[in-house]
Subunit: 289 residues, 6 copies
């Protein structure tokens, strides 16, 4: 008897019960102000992951060594950011309640807020490690507070000073950089200072939300994103930083802002798949230690 | 002394006071459920209009014979449909209050609701002539009522039975077609029946809102739209229908759903520009008679 | 508990046992001589089908009224046409043995041969109705007999004279047209003569294999195919012809040669989805009568 | 011993001496005012012609039945229209002097002027049959007289009233249409009136220069051109008109304004190849009668 | 009362009188020998600049701190390089005469010659700092002297030995490199030696024309240009070099050879906008010191 | 008298007899498992090479200084890998028998096997230097042994342990890396260790087959390939490595896996042309020493 067509991210076909990491997608980009298309990120990554291998020569590890489950995409409306965030939070809550690590594929960066809300419910002393080209610290954007351009400010509203650690930032208005000087731990342009940030978090076993806006990468290797910003980091640097952060107590994570239609060569989607593979391997290995 | 860079749609450089038709753009596509990009429609049409001539051999008329003003694009937020609709309504109100015809360039089809609200304030006995591939009659879409997929239902909520005349419709769920059987005047697939609809409107000098979703056209000539639907009308049929409708008392109009990035050949944008030229010529001539 | 990600063609989520029609994909284009890419057809159709509605205003019918099952794509190797054809034949055999209608999504046109072999095993007096721009009647192509350019010749080898009925043909070398004069029932350029062909088949309840090479359509509405041939039929003509053929005793069918990457506007994929919806509705309705 | 790589248009590999038709390309688009790219037309047609067959089911004729020679592209500078026109004229002169028919592949439409100059030297009573969306009758364009937008005016300067017959024209400024009313034989929008124009030319055996701007076609089937103009003719109409014109005494011809990069689907280039095949077959057959 | 649609480069909306820097565009690419499209550079940069912020974290400076005016694009003919150069020279003369710095957006590199002519009239002891992949030192190109491939040779004709300083050069024929050995100050591949060149210019307050062909960048970060040349510099290096050069007495500058249609991802246009922002900030700050 | 259109790679127009290097193309990608298109590599490189100069500032050498012949593309069938490999082997045999160096342009990487077979016939003690992102060491791929994913394993079958030297490898399944640990000389990620490998080969004058899969490059500079793998080497590193390898006794070489349609910017094709120019100059210079 024939089976229905199941489509998961490469190597993420454990059953839910045994899985330690749980993927889900949030195909949402309703507040994107410049060029939309991040809604297509999760399905593109899932579909194109089959151009990859499950084995990583970087970490000498294989997705088939770990139990990872892909729970598919949420069905999100367009036109109501609050409804979308609620659905994301709810899915993350389920996964966290079952003692698993939720791994969210965006979508635009606003989706992070839904998962951070859930993580804060479980881990009130949460810190955020944030890789991004953009500060995302505006108070509002054209009158709207639930916007991708404000998402870290919204997280700050929930968390307060000194718990958001930002890296690779190279774009924002002057007010955002002034806000960061006072309220967040911002590191411009690169990963300089990352190890110093991580040491106390590791020492204290502080719970960490890890959010990767892929536009932290240079557009030369990742043009497929809504707002490409020249001057970013390269792929090996990002891989290395992911392995560093994974040594902390990561309780939830996301990877966002791939807009696959904007890079017709497919190289951006292929890179995003590889980043996700490496992230899952690093997280899974650390949890199994 | 050098002047700043003014960019208007071709031949729309009258001053506002003398103008009889007033263009404005609503670069909004936040509720687009399938493929976004209609936000780029107004600026693409304005920019690419310079591949056209001001003269129409179809109507033997020239944009330079009429006073038309392009008031530019509204600056709309993404993430709040209601705020966007308010801004659209406000601009249309200003133009209507000055006794001019507002001509709105979308954006997704939801923008029509803002302009219809304004027109209803001035013309309570308004009818709508609606060209579209899609019925746009859903009660809600994934829980959201302010959605492109519901826009004619929202207009119906304000206007009631028998005042919405739909043509070229070839897509929708079964409930939408059942709704139309009772509440609207729907003509499927083509312009068949248009003249019969127009005669009483002309006879009674009924005020008409004229909304053109460009996806009424076949994707062969207009692939640059979010949801291309095979089986549409061709360009000469649309031109002819526009000239027919322009004989009624059109008080406001819009043209929407060009997503220029989806047709890299530029043919869709060029066609949209020509449709707008022909629409403006037909409306201007009728108002000057 | 969360479920894995199931991806089927729109409205094809019956369970296998109850289903009457069974979809499957053959992502193969290894012998394509000009521009490859038809391998991506089945997944693109499955993925993009969610831009469609399940309801057809053309047939006033809805996919949800029928039990249809999507069994996913075969995993085919590249580099061995014979192995690929065997896998296709095997899948079609299973479906036919269970008394269901196999509906194959190609891939290049060679995939038809696998399904025809299976259908001939069950229905030795099978006829083929073939819509295509190309005759596909070469004896071999650059020394290879299992080629998309030879596929109807290979079917002919199994079936003999007068049982292959070809429509819309407008390309081939002179020898192919001479072969057709003697051995097949070829109708050039259009569907002229279709009804005359169908009458005796309906009268005798002859089993029919129905193969639709989408390049029978004009490239204006379907540019997304390996070898676009100007001068094809339009979409309404194809819909009408599909409804005509569906009145015969169709025992298996396929739709092939969508190469989605070649039409970045997405209009070709959207059209292919609609053709498949209409084909499934017409076949399902006829079987339920 | 190995041979160098010869690349000709499909089926045009006669030797020069025996050939009756001689192809050459003029990869020039220096005066294109809107979107350039027609310079790539000749090489794209030559390269993509191998997706075609040499046999035409429309005319039941085969390129291999005739002696046609492809003499390659001229090496033209960019930045001097006069130098480019001289090179084109010179090549056409050589071919005409040898009693053969020069068949020029543009390039933008200005290239026609070079070949018309040569043809007028040999046939002072030449008429021009002109298929185009645009009148191309401007006196000058932004101060430049040697421009694609003026090319038929430049021909008129050499030939005078009543000898230029224009078809399918649907774009131009008002002055061009007024000029045409007096000085040329213009037929708007379609081929209506073509047979009436041809009869006296055939009767008098008048020498004819036949110039086909491919943008006479509707952009639905031919988006790959610098200035796509909705409302054009379809492919079967063009094929028919070409066969009609080929019954006159055609002494030189051209086909121009394919800009292949603007239609990434390749359908425009494939269509252009087929038009050229049909034009060559029709011309060759008529000359051999 | 509504205002017309003004479109300027981001943050360049001072009035002309108060402005110290004045932008203008020269949308010209008539002599481009390989792939045209640089004509679309200025409008693309102006349009896409709104994806940027006015604030630079690199220089901790903001466009809103300075008075910069965008005077729009020249309307240039295609087909006469001399007429185009005259228009460019005239605009630059006006700006220089008013004591302001003209900042030209190309277009192809030939446009530089028009602005250099104007600058030489005001500053006879001018030097040129030239960033480019190509030497642009040919005596003529296919018989044409006013060509992008010859533009620095034309400047040399006006200026003589030792006053042109070239960096990043990695393409040219052997004769150009031999010419450079004698007549210009060429630095191959990178910015090595830049500081040594600048010191005496700064010391003597020598007036400098600064011309940036964006193809000096590696195609990995800037593929959107007519002739991409592997092996270029990266974005941070270019930013640094721009800040270095801005310490000299720059009297006029240009940035050219963005061909936006060649990079559909938009990353090249976004980068060009950021380079222009950084260039304007560096020049404005230095002039205000 | 006019000549036919000869198209060769830039500067490769020696006659065969005098030539020392002989180019040929194998436009084959039938076993490509992910994204096909490498079949278009050789013609794209030949065509686009005219955007390059013959002179290299890197090596201060010029293609016109050496006798190189381009023998065009093989006409390969699709659907039979063995027939294709035979044709490749045969062409390489002819060239080797005449004492010349065959330089093969792929096509997918499987084509290498044909040329290696020929080279082994002439040089039984052959070693292979292999630059690639992928190990290509699978025993079979979905049941097929003649696959691009297995090509180095097929070479190994002919050559045995220790004679294949691999660089830049960063993708493969775990079994391939385990196989390499035992049977090949694999260097992951970069060219580290290259000089150490080359010294004994140079000392012993060992005959070398040099195969360059262009996807060894990072997708930032070379996205136009079927399976882009982030984390590759940059262009200057590749140029340097090519010059290093060329000091060995290279008896045959290839360059493969450019899929030009996947990078619409053209930067990948331009880079491939430059790599081929530099490879030819390095090989030619070494043979003439």
């Amino acid at each position: 008897m024939l089976s229905p067509n199941i489509e998961t991210f490469l190597g993420c076909d454990a059953d839910y019960t045994s899985a330690d990491l749980v993927l889900f997608g949030a195909p949402f980009d309703s507040t994107t102000s410049y060029r939309p298309g991040a809604r297509f990120g999760p399905s593109a990554m899932r579909h194109e992951s089959f151009g990859l291998e499950t084995y990583s020569p970087y970490q000498d590890a294989d997705l088939t060594d770990y139990a990872i489950f892909d729970s598919g995409d949420l069905e999100l409306c367009f036109g109501s950011s609050e409804l979308a965030l609620e659905a994301i939070q709810e899915r993350a809550e389920v996964i966290l309640s079952d003692g698993k690590l939720p791994l969210l594929m965006g979508g635009e960066h606003l989706v992070t807020l839904g998962a951070v809300r859930a993580a804060l419910n479980h881990f009130p002393n949460l810190h955020i490690i944030h890789f991004d080209a953009h500060a995302d610290l505006r108070e509002d954007y054209l009158g709207v507070q639930l916007s991708h351009a404000c998402v870290l400010h919204r997280c700050y509203d929930l968390m307060g000073d000194g718990r958001i650690h930002q890296f690779c930032i190279r774009s924002g208005d002057r007010e955002e950089f002034q806000f960061a000087d006072i309220h967040t731990d911002m590191h411009k342009f690169s990963f300089d200072g990352l190890e110093d940030v991580l040491q106390p978090l590791i020492a204290a076993d502080t719970p960490v939300y890890f959010t990767i806006d892929l536009d932290c990468l240079d557009p030369s290797c990742f043009p497929g994103t809504g707002t490409p910003e020249a001057g970013g980091v390269d792929f090996p640097s990002l891989l290395h930083a992911i392995q560093q952060v994974s040594r902390t107590h990561v309780v939830a994570a996301d990877i966002n802002e791939l807009a696959p239609m904007l890079d017709a060569s497919g190289a951006s989607t292929a890179l995003a798949c590889k980043v996700l593979r490496e992230l899952m391997l690093a997280l899974a290995r650390n949890r199994s230690n």
